[in-house]
Symmetry: C2
């Protein structure tokens, strides 16, 4: 697999924020924005904005700024968001249900196409208009629906096995919400969302020891 | 408020990972680990481990390594985790319910003490043994239960108002799961968990344009 050069995760997160602001600016009919504008709207410094964009080449006109639509389109392309992505959720519990309702996905081009579970009570039903299939049908459905990304919202003890099945079914990008370390082959991109560590970003700043 | 010096978010995330590994190593009775060991267990380079730790001073003995328990305790202190934190969840929908069940919180010292909602059908009931209170009782309960951190799992349109109430009730650290930008005063630490942007970390690496 062709590997992209490594840029900091935080840069990717900020590009997302910049793109949201640029879209709004374009929709308001604004034709030029400066790195100062982008910085103010997203809570970073102008230097940081310029540094983040510099990873990807030359943008804008010195002393003039950026055209919001052009920069937006370019960032979306960098983020791989110039296409729609088909996403499946694994686990139809509370977290899977919450994720299937999440409004922010479609807006960025992520279409939740189905949910997988192993509970016969749940299989065949729909969550927010998205059908629940049995995990045993994953291979067939993955091909049929062209599933590219998967979100894992199963209990920790089931996560590795479900992820193995996802990899076998050809899913190339996986987000794991289960609080457990799992492994994938090198050609699969895995990201763990550790909910406790989200709290640790707060306590780092709130801790009273220093 | 005393502000800590700014270290990259990604470093805080990695410190969390290092601390989990160090705890395991200590529990296994291992008395010395190298940055190489820590790096291998957490999927980063040894240079990155040394760089991350260097933000906080001198550790270990050159050519010998680190004592897992000492380094673990030190990192927990850096992360503000040498004390327990009282956490409230806002919103008793699917996401709030999923969060109230999440096993990983208590393990890191985060105790979910209650849930707030405005639905009279839910108030007074319990989710996983955690009581649901009415949001109108927030000020009283925040004082009574010494709530320090809050997790926002309410619909986007309600988030800013709930967060205003949290700030007024003295909550100093807030995680916002609602897909909307909100503001807090300078003395409050806010972190937004944008679930769509989690997917964008994957598509950045999977995008086919470069």
């Amino acid at each position: 697999m062709f590997k992209k050069f490594k840029i900091p995760d935080a840069t990717i997160g900020r590009l997302t924020a910049y793109s949201r602001f640029l879209k709004e600016a374009d929709e308001k009919g604004i034709s030029t924005v400066s790195s100062q504008h982008i910085a103010e709207a997203t809570g970073v410094t102008p230097t940081q904005v310029r540094k983040d964009l510099a990873y990807f080449g030359e943008f804008g006109t010195r002393g003039v700024g950026y055209n919001p639509r052009e920069l937006y389109n370019y960032i979306m392309k960098i983020l791989g968001l110039d296409k729609k992505w088909k996403v499946a959720i694994f686990g139809a519990g509370h977290l899977g249900t919450a994720l299937s309702q999440y409004k922010g996905f479609l807006e960025r081009g992520f279409e939740i196409v189905c949910i997988f579970d192993n509970d016969p009570e749940k299989v065949g039903k729909k969550l927010n208009n998205v059908e629940i299939f049995h995990i045993n049908d994953l291979k067939t459905k993955a091909r049929e629906l062209n599933i590219e990304l998967g979100i894992v919202a199963v209990p920790a003890q089931a996560a590795q096995e479900v992820i193995n099945q996802m990899v076998e079914a050809g899913i190339r990008g996986i987000i794991n919400f289960a609080p457990v370390n799992v492994t994938v082959p090198e050609n699969v991109v895995l990201r763990r969302v550790d909910l406790a560590s989200q709290l640790e970003y707060l306590t780092y700043y709130l801790g009273e020891n220093r």
